[in-house]
């Protein structure tokens, strides 16, 4: 950017990319589907409606384009000394100021179409939770990189407008962790998922007017089942078992295929670098994402594994932080994936770069009090037994009641493994909590990052002198359960003493 352009920019602001207007228009087309359908359905009722249909479609699409164009002409962003300003709005003008200090993260996302035109969507995340704090869709990739570096430079305290200098900063270094195709494939196998059925179910609900019969009509279903049943009755038992088995195999294959495809879409080319600005992560097959997580914003780390992955020595590492990970939907676990499938050596390397220590072999872990789970099991048993009693006495359904015993056995197993896997430990500056009955997770949090500490006691736990300790972390939760109340208080006091003695005015410049 030369000097005259800089001056002009300060006065009138920067517009978004004009090509981006069309990219946004095309990617927004599916959203027009339902309004269009509604209009067409209305028009189809009158005789002349069919004649007007092409005009209506053209009109709706044209209107959408016009609105987008007006919005585009009214959209400006300004790069100021203290903040980034975004002005937008057709009728009501909106001027937003995002101070550099408050920007938690700048994420750059490239969806397939945008990628073809070398465009990117830039999001300024301030961690206020709503997620739509400041989005620029779309700007040129180079501009996106420049904006991010600008924010980073401001946050580092050295305002630096020179783009060349900044690019040199980002020079490629060997990554700290990568996933090759084989690794992504392995992860895909572990991501076995039957979510496709949920999606199909949702779609069936959306498009049920296209179905040959009402899917909620039980009679129609019975008819279908009866017809198929007649066919089934015509073939022998062995053929039936074979058909059942092949259906099961098809289901399993579908589950694996879904897992592999989803994993490839998200994790392909996964690469984690340690840059002077923090961890830089790039991944994605069609939608490329590129996010930077400053090291000091890591609030805690979670190491996760499942029963089969553990046997093969695979673990996943996630960081807890205020900034939501890009690509995660609302309500989903927003932890920042640092290594989806890694060996313990790789995880140790990333952790030490994140200034978090692995549990050393001298560290003594304590187990939760078994009474905690016994109380829960007794409660579940009482509920299940009374349900059985009702079934036997009122409904006279003995075998259904017996099925409930399976549920009880399941609960017993789950509680047993929860107790077995539960561990906690404290060293001078970190907290370690291990939990989970099927998936094991070990959370490591620096004590200094704890926001608040609460000792909780329910009415039953209180009788046994048990308590849980809830620790507030920015962007996550951490709880130590099944503690003797005296121990809970001791840990609470110890952690608060560590947090309270820090003079935050000294480290706020970070």
């Amino acid at each position: 950017m030369n000097a005259s352009a800089e001056i002009q920019q300060a006065a009138t602001g920067i517009k978004l990319s004009a090509i981006g207007l069309f990219v946004g228009f095309i990617t927004g087309l599916p959203r027009l589907f339902f309004p269009l359908l509604a209009v067409l359905f209305g028009a189809g009722r009158s005789d002349k409606g069919v004649f007007f249909m092409p005009f209506i479609i053209a009109g709706v699409i044209g209107l959408s384009l016009i609105f987008r164009w007006i919005a585009w002409t009214r959209f400006r962003y300004f790069i100021e000394d203290e903040d980034i300003r975004i002005e937008s709005g057709l009728i009501s003008r909106n001027a937003r100021s995002i101070p550099y200090d408050r920007i938690q993260d700048v994420s750059i996302e490239q969806k397939p179409l945008a990628r073809m035109f070398r465009l990117a969507e830039v999001k300024f995340e301030t961690g206020s939770g709503t997620g739509d704090e400041g989005t620029l869709s779309y700007v040129a990739v180079e501009e996106a990189e420049r904006l991010r570096e600008l924010v980073r430079a401001h946050k580092a305290g050295t305002a630096e407008h020179n783009a060349l200098q900044v690019t040199a900063d980002m020079a490629e270094t060997p990554p700290i962790y990568t996933m090759d195709t084989r690794r992504v494939l392995t992860l895909g196998f572990y991501s076995f998922s039957l979510i496709i059925f949920a999606v199909l179910g949702g779609a069936a609900q959306q498009f049920d007017f296209l179905m040959p019969f009402d899917i909620y009509d039980v009679g129609a279903w019975l008819g279908v089942a009866k017809n198929n049943g007649d066919v089934l009755n015509g073939i022998g038992w062995s053929a039936r078992i074979l058909a059942g088995l092949s259906a099961l195999l098809a289901l399993i294959a579908l589950g694996f295929a879904t897992g592999i495809i989803r994993t490839f879409l998200r994790e392909n080319g996964f690469r984690l670098d340690v840059t002077p600005k923090g961890f830089r992560r790039r991944r994605g097959l069609l939608t490329l994402t590129d996010t930077v997580m400053p090291v000091h914003r890591v609030q805690a780390a979670t190491i996760q594994t499942g029963p089969i992955r553990k046997l093969r020595g695979w673990y996943a590492l996630k960081f807890v932080s205020l900034a939501a990970d890009s690509g995660t939907k609302q309500g989903e676990d927003s932890d920042h994936a640092a290594a989806p499938l890694a060996t313990m050596e790789e995880i140790a390397r990333i952790l030490s770069a994140a200034k978090i220590d692995r549990a050393s072999s001298e560290l003594v872990f304590a187990r939760g009090q078994s009474a905690w789970w016994i109380i829960q099991f007794v409660l579940v048993t009482i509920i299940i037994l009374s349900a059985m009693l009702v079934l036997i006495l009122a409904a006279n359904a003995g075998w259904k009641a017996a099925l409930l015993l399976l549920l009880l056995a399941f609960a017993a197993t789950a509680f047993y493994f929860q107790w077995r896997n539960n561990r906690y430990a404290l060293d001078t500056d970190q907290i370690f909590v291990r939990s989970g009955w099927w998936q094991e997770r070990l959370t490591i949090a620096p004590q200094i990052k704890i926001q608040s500490a609460e000792v909780q006691q329910g009415p039953l736990a209180r009788r046994r002198g048990l308590a849980s300790l809830q620790l507030g972390i920015a962007g996550g939760t951490l709880e130590i359960i099944a503690l003797p109340v005296a121990m809970a208080r001791q840990i609470q006091t110890q952690i608060i003493a560590v947090v309270a003695k820090v003079d935050y005015s000294q480290i706020s410049g970070k």
């Binding site: 313990m344 561990r423 430990a425 704890i450 507030g472 121990m487």
Partner: protein, 185 residues
Amino acid sequence: MTAQTNRLANITPLAHITIMSEIIIDPAPTMALNDDLTPLDPRHITVTRISSAIFMAIFVIGAGVLEVAQIISRGAFIIPVALLALYYAWVVPARKYARWGYAVGADRLRVVRGYLFYSDTIVPFGRIQHIDVEQGPLQRPYGLATLQVHTAGNHNSTVSLPGLAHADALAMREAIRAHIRQAAL
């Protein structure tokens, strides 16, 4: 460099961590309520009684409608509901009040509460993001207020301390604000 190799040497898979045997502690009947806690303003009982009464009135009215409709035998519904409402609106607020307590330390705020479910929360001043003093419509005639401190944590992002004299709440807010420094997240 040596620090790094040390760390790598200390890697322990999740399974092979030392386990301490369970700590056996006599089951203490209650969480010890420490001596240094300040109780809430006694007028808080009255305010809670009024708000509980308003809440329970909905159920009593509902039961009254059923009574008039004479679906079940006379008094079978309204009497237990009314008794429960009386207990909840008269007895529970006093018991809850007895459990409330707070302490403002040099560097932390402690809030203890709970009748069935006890909790004891400590928030270091340095971790407080912002503070609210709220006065509800029922609190206003009695000159009471609620102090709310907000932290960045997902758990306990808001810690509320109701039943403070309005002037006390304002004074506490000023005292805490003086301690707040911008913390790096």
